[in-house]
Amino acid sequence: MDLIKPLQSLKVRIMLIKVCGLSEESEITELANSGIDMLGFIFHKASRRNLNYDEAKGAFIRNLACEKVGVFVNEEFDYILQTGFYFSLTHVQLHGNESPGMVQALSRYFKVIKAFSIHSKFDFRVCDLYPSADLLLFDTKGDLAGGNGTQFDWKLLDSYQGDIPFLLSGGIGKNDVKAIKEMNHPFFEGIDVNSKFEIEPSRKNIPEIKTFMEELNKSISKTRKGYYGEFGGAYIPELLYNPVQELETAFERIKTNEEFKSKFKHLLRDYVGRPTPLYFSNKLSEKHDATIFLKREDLNHTGAHKINNTIGQILLAKEMGKTNIIAETGAGQHGVATATVCALMGLDCTVFMGTVDMERQKPNVQRMKMLGAKVVPAESGSKTLKDATNEAIRYWINNPSTFYVIGSVVGPHPYPEMVAHFQSVISEEMRFQLQEKTQKMNPDIIVACVGGGSNAAGAFYHYLEEDAVALYCVEAAGLGIDSGKSAATSHLGTVGIIHGSKSLVMQTDNGQIIEPHSISAGLDYPGIGPLHAHLIKSGRAKSIAVTDAEAIKAGLDLTRIEGIIPALESAHALAALDKIELKNKTVVVNLSGRGDKDLETYLTKLNLAENEIE
């Protein structure tokens, strides 16, 4: 299960690197392929790096798919325009005394970088005259316009108060890594390198550039590890720094460890009963005129997907020599799965659960107790999943040697990544099962309910980079998205921090977290995992909201037409089928759990409905 790769490619790039003064085709190709953000070509006769080109080179540059910058010094507008079009440049960089009007005119056709030569008397207010520039470039003042290979005092940049991002340029070499990393100006966007990485003018030292890039990115990717786009991170009080760090190190160690993987696989097969079937539902397929499969996570031991994750995390806890396990739970499925694996492995187990959830998911409370776990009622706030999570985190702060098994792809890094990693077995199986049944590699559509997002993360995981597979996150709309009684986070949420990570959060204008509502305890959460926040924000996944009533109906329908009683959470995913264009599509619905725990809720609604008919 080396499944982490697809997630890593979703990371943001954070420092822009431009290499300027290029000419050699082989060098250009290599740089374009190695992740350099911008390639720069100089169009200035007086420069030793002026681009000499013929028809063939023109075509070569035109066909490059990356960001291409043309550098000009006091040229006529028409010349810049023609050159830009000829090479299909994305950016023009102006190094002379070009006027604000010129920049504005060119900005209609290209992104414009306005360069300034910095010296101790430079007045940064000049930059304010160029509001239509996309980027500024700060270079050293010297005799030659367009780059002198020497550095200016970067401290001078403290006086730049504008709000256009800038690139740093002028004599940057391999010894500047540290200084660059220490640059903390809020509008510092990246760097521009040239002469310090040359064998001779225009001939670049490619290996050196690559090493330099790696050096630069090394510590950056460390601080930015655990992000999906802008979401994720570890917003934790210092009290949790050591425990989280210890967990991250341990997780990194087992991620690719063969012995660990084999233990995990073995337990999933012989104890949990995996692989779970991919069941072709004739009735649903007929109803929607599509090919619909149910991924039967309800058939796992303990009745939901949650156990995939608890096996993984508790195996890890064992590796780390932990003896006390804590967990939060909403629907009680994660609590039961944690208590189960703790019983199996002989570990102490404490589960935090909101008192509202203890009432509506009684059978699971009884199961946990029977399994030997201590169930601690969470009485604060809305007395549901959010509050259970708060209590678990507080307990962890007070008992830092405990192992906290989070039940979804939420919480501080490394939890979202780790839970997704363990749940990814769902889509790993879907791949070969689907091929066996349909000879197709990929479904057209995957539908999963999202509380925190763990079953969805597992079902999407191996398809994240297959853009042809449409991904649907189904959220709980409660009594209706705008009813004030809802848990539709991606519809109602704004960017914020919840339980240690930056994500979408249902909150007031004052940044206070709103107490959500859903009939389904597992979806009754005001946040969503950072991965899903990113997938939805970036358009990779769509989100659909399903009301309590729609979910109940879909759950009862499946019970009667297929003889499968789904968990209320999973019933939300089923109800979403009515809201997606499915005709002739191959669809997988992740049936995350079974509905035994929800019988009381279902039966109450069923009796009501039948009484109405009478």
């Binding site: 100006h185 991170g233 934790i236 210092e238 009290l239 830092p400």
Partner: protein
């Protein structure tokens, strides 16, 4: 803000508790009682690092209608009448939602002396916010614990402009035992680092004994839960402070 004397005593109170407009009056009482600086807590719905007492005061404060804007009005009022340094303490989400820059700008305008944001982790601060804090010249006060690795403490030392907040034990706020031998030894290890920045100790300081212990080693103590409890129990500020300082 400069802490250049010994035995500094700071009090934490939740803004908006017990009444929406209590803070200015309480601060005045605290100043008269000889407190050295104030930490005003911005209430949050989900205060993860806090025990039941501060959770409860936060809930009451929010129900009373406390918001960041209201708090700023109260800070302005306090600053008009008092020279006491004011540090604001709050979880990151309300500040993030308010807008970090807008928040810092307001702090600067009102003369706020420092900020404590327990869940703004050091790496994130350094990577995303340090420059902004420096632009507005608002010191962020970092928390360390006795378990924080030394190289991390050194980083904190370099970035600290006011003081370092040493959390006395691995616990949420409101623990109230006396310090164990192990804890005292851990304090002494921190003391031996000879940090160039003053150290204030908080979490679990609730009586004269705990106050004395930390003042003997460090630059002062921060008291929160015990004070909020005394408000609920209708103990006068003067009597409470006298009891602690001794």
């Amino acid at each position: 803000m400069k802490l250049n004397k010994k035995n500094n005593c700071s009090i934490f109170l939740t803004a908006g508790y017990p009444q929406l407009n209590s803070a200015p009056k309480l601060v005045e009482e605290l100043e008269n009682a000889g407190i050295d600086f104030i930490e005003l807590g911005i209430p949050f719905s989900d205060p993860l690092a806090d025990g039941p007492v501060i959770q409860e005061t936060s809930t009451i404060a929010l129900n009373n209608g406390m918001t960041i804007d209201v708090l700023f009005e109260q800070v302005a009022e306090i600053k008009m009448n008092s020279a006491l340094p004011i540090v604001l303490m709050g979880y990151f989400n309300p500040i993030y939602t308010y807008g970090v820059e807008k928040f810092l700008k307001q702090c600067k305008a009102l003369g706020v002396d420092g900020l404590i944001i327990p869940d703004l982790e050091i790496d994130i601060y350094e990577f995303e916010y340090k420059a902004l804090f420096e632009t507005y010249d608002i010191p962020l006060i970092f928390l360390i614990t006795t378990a924080t690795p030394v190289d991390r403490i050194r980083r904190v030392e370099k970035m600290s402009k006011a003081f370092i907040y040493l959390v006395s034990s691995s616990a949420t706020t409101g623990a109230k035992a006396s310090f164990s031998k192990g804890q005292i030894q851990a304090f002494e290890r921190i003391k031996a680092l000879n940090l160039k920045v003053p150290i204030m100790v908080g979490f679990g300081i609730h009586n004269n004994e705990t106050y004395r212990t930390v003042c003997n080693l460090f630059d002062g103590a921060i008291i929160g839960t015990a004070y909020l409890k005394s408000i609920a129990n209708k103990v006068s500020t003067k009597a409470f402070v006298a009891d602690i300082i001794g």
